[in-house]
């Protein structure tokens, strides 16, 4: 299996030891989405420019047929692939917008009175950060220190 395009959209709960790490993670997430969006948009843009004024028909395949529970394109792979890329781009826009909004308004979370020992549970749904738990029941571990005297074995 080779991933042609797109990005993994994580659904699950992530634990962070610092609120700043949550912000950093979401920023990296957004950058990844934006990179993928730009890349896929450029592919479609290039094709539309190359086909000069033909409009959306150059990326819309007429070869789709419903087979079982899926749509399958067996007759027009180029346009079929391009249509999938277009769908991907369309679906990425709201994801980027939502992640951007969360980041822009994250200051309001950071201004909350958060206990210093707290850790953070971030809930992501389809790659979008949706909820945050400020967890005081599982604190960050104490800083690790080890000192000792040893000898090499002969």
């Amino acid at each position: 299996m080779i991933q042609e395009t797109g990005t993994d959209l994580y659904s699950g709960i992530l634990r962070f030891y610092a609120l700043n790490d949550v912000r950093k993670y979401m920023k990296e997430l957004l950058e990844r989405y934006q990179r993928e969006y730009d890349r896929s948009s450029n592919v479609i843009g290039s094709l539309l420019r190359a086909e000069g004024g033909k409009g959306m028909e150059v990326i819309m395949s007429k070869g789709w047929a419903k087979v079982g529970a899926m749509f399958v394109d067996v007759t027009d792979p180029e346009k079929g692939g391009m249509e999938l890329t277009f769908q991907l781009v369309t679906e990425m826009r709201p994801r980027i917008a939502k992640t951007e909004e969360v980041l822009k308004t994250f200051e309001s979370v950071e201004s909350l009175p958060i206990p210093t020992e707290a850790t953070f549970l971030l809930y992501l749904h389809g790659g979008i950060p949706e909820r945050l738990v400020i967890d005081t029941t599982e604190p960050k571990p104490e800083a690790y220190v080890h000192k000792g005297e040893y000898a090499t074995i002969q």
Partner: protein
């Protein structure tokens, strides 16, 4: 950030500073290799999926004819449990696994330096706590 993975602990060891000295004209590379180690590990940075430690090791031969001081960082990447296991000594007489890994990774450098200084080469074996 943490998620469930099946991978084993990934360790990256970086040497940031090395100091090696031949302390005596009587040093002989063919003499018995008997080094004592003073070790210090301290947390530099931590998230749920990685831990960065500063390490510092000072090896002194017995009798004291050579000394090596090596310091740097070790980055552990894995789950919380894997990291915890990596830094926890199995018992009070044995070093934490991460210390063994660090020693293994820097051993080649010490071996070459000992050869260049014509002093006994430290043994590559696992460490034991000196009494």
């Amino acid at each position: 950030m943490a998620d469930e993975r099946e991978d084993v602990l990934e360790v990256t060891v970086l040497i940031e500073d090395v100091d090696a000295a031949r302390l005596s004209e009587k040093a002989n590379e063919n003499a018995a290799s008997n080094y004592s180690l003073n070790v210090s590990l301290a947390e530099r940075d931590r998230s749920t999926e990685h831990l960065v430690l500063s390490y510092s090791m000072e090896l002194t031969s017995q009798p004291p004819t050579a000394r090596f001081k090596i310091s740097g960082s070790a980055t552990l990447k894995g789950t919380r449990d894997e990291i915890k296991e990596g830094i926890s000594a199995p018992d009070s007489n044995r070093p934490p696994p991460i210390l063994v890994v660090i020693y293994e990774r820097i051993y080649g450098t010490m071996y070459l330096l000992a050869g260049a200084l014509k002093v006994p080469r430290p043994m590559p074996n696992l460490l034991k706590k000196s009494s």
